[in-house]
């Protein structure tokens, strides 16, 4: 019975001990879970190199992207490793929302105007979807075609379309991969034997080397290229440098054009004999 009483006293004292320890206010509010957050920065640029990435322009932001591909480095000193034969593309992209982007661009390759619509359907999240899924659509207008050279040319011959699904996954802090099945259609093809409707599987990835540098690679496997087509599958290797507000992308590629239809359908360079192009993408945020 005596022991029982001792025990009772002890039990009565428990709340005092408990109160003495319950003095850490921080613990009371430190209960926010960070588990359900979205993954960020699978890719830093809107493009991996030539392929669109799953990166979106944020709501109400305007990106101005200048892309440049010099002429083939193979020509050597004669035109200064391609300086004289450059192709430039100016591209404005606006974020209507974080998941809806519209863009308009002009490329000096075949004097091409382009309009694009990029939609994010799913975001990769911890404990959520394992992938980010984005759809990219574009319409191209080739204004370099001339009726004197191509009698019977109609307006619709200038148009091309493409639609692609971009499926990316950030595997870890440093490595992100992307798959990009693509359908594109040229109303007028550059090579006679080529079917107008074309299919491609794009693959790409980004690997961080340091906090500010990453190596990026993308490749497009054309599934129905005409047997004797002079055009090649585009393979591009580059580096991203990010400084906080900007991303600079420097790369080598065997495709000089930069729109989806044109780099997939009309890449003329060949890595095998050094016929490649040096280029860069620069972005400015407004």
């Amino acid at each position: 019975m005596l022991e029982m009483r001792k025990l009772s006293i002890l039990i009565i004292l428990i709340p005092f001990f408990a109160l003495a320890q319950e003095d850490d206010l921080l613990d009371e509010i430190d209960n926010i879970s960070t588990e359900d957050e979205y993954e960020i920065a699978a890719f830093k640029g809107l493009k991996i190199v030539n392929f669109e990435s799953t990166k979106m322009v944020s709501k109400k932001q305007l990106f101005f992207v200048v892309s440049h591909r010099f002429g083939s480095v193979k020509t050597g000193i004669e035109d200064f490793f391609g300086l004289d034969q450059a192709v430039t593309r100016l591209n404005f992209i606006y974020g209507i929302s974080d998941g809806i982007n519209i863009g308009i661009s002009r490329s000096s390759f075949q004097k091409t105007y382009e309009g694009s619509l990029k939609l994010r359907l799913v975001r990769q999240g911890r404990g959520g979807s394992p992938f980010t899924v984005v759809v990219f659509n574009s319409v191209l207008m080739n204004t370099a075609l001339e009726e004197e050279i191509l009698p019977g040319l109609k307006f619709e011959h200038r148009l091309s379309y493409s639609t692609q699904a971009l499926i990316s996954r950030k595997l870890n802090k440093n490595l992100s991969l992307q798959l990009a099945p693509t359908f594109f259609h040229d109303n007028l093809v550059a090579f006679n034997g080529q079917e107008n409707s074309q299919y491609t599987i794009g693959i790409g990835g980004r690997h961080k080397l340091t906090k500010r540098w990453s190596i990026n690679i993308d490749y497009g496997l054309h599934l129905n290229r005409a047997a004797n087509s002079p055009f090649k599958n585009p393979l591009s290797i580059g580096f991203d440098l990010e400084t906080g507000g900007h991303v600079f992308q420097l790369h080598f590629t065997n495709a000089q054009p930069m729109n989806t239809n044109t780099f997939l359908g009309q890449a003329t360079g060949d890595w095998g004999n050094g016929d490649i192009f040096f280029g860069f993408n620069l972005s400015r945020v407004f």
Binding site: P15, L19, L26, I29, D30, A41, K173, V285
Partner: protein, 188 residues
């Protein structure tokens, strides 16, 4: 009979515990949508400024303690690339998702708080990226109705939290980061 006694005494114990606990219950005030802004802009360069409008803060008027917690990803910049870069490369918010503060309002006299602004010194520890930094500053406190308003500011440096600013952007980011806070705490 004996077991009834034990049950009864247990019941009494529970009641006594409850009574003591409620007697000792501290007066606490909390804000779950507190605002913290930090700025490290340099003139002529792009603004380096972020705002977090979902900071939690809690104040115990009894013990004069204050604590606050902010999710790093809750800090939003104008330029989303900058925000990503801040999370990924400066704070590494995947590894260190939270910033925490714990401090004491040494001279706080809760009973005397009213609509007039009182300046109360605070000293405490701010933890970011797993690194701790002592903070000493003066907070402006007033009480309007049941709401305690706390505003204030202090200065930290990236070095305080072992954040290295690379050479190429060194002149675009201020050496000193001004942190401002604005809490409206309601009784918990």
């Amino acid at each position: 009979m004996k077991s009834v006694n034990i049950r009864l005494s247990l019941l009494i114990l529970v009641l006594v515990h409850g009574a003591i606990a409620s007697l000792w219950a501290q007066e606490k005030y909390i804000d779950k949508n507190g605002i913290v802004i930090f700025e490290a802009s340099e003139q002529l360069f792009e603004e380096v400024k972020a705002t977090n409008e979902s900071v939690t803060a809690i104040l115990s008027t009894e013990t004069k303690q204050i604590a606050s917690l902010a999710l790093i990803k809750g800090f939003h910049f104008k330029n989303s690339l900058m925000e990503e870069h801040f999370n990924e490369n400066y704070i590494e918010s995947d590894i260190y998702p939270k910033a925490k503060f714990k401090g004491n309002l040494i001279d706080l006299n809760a009973v005397e708080l009213d609509e007039n602004v009182t300046e109360v010194p605070v000293e405490g520890i701010l933890e970011v990226r797993g690194e701790q930094k002592e903070i000493h500053t003066v907070l402006k406190i007033q009480k309007i109705g049941d709401i305690i308003s706390i505003t204030g500011e202090f200065i930290v440096t990236p070095g305080d939290f072992a954040i290295e600013i690379p050479k190429i952007v060194r002149n675009k980011i201020a050496k000193e980061v001004l942190v401002k806070l604005d809490f409206k705490l309601a009784k918990k």
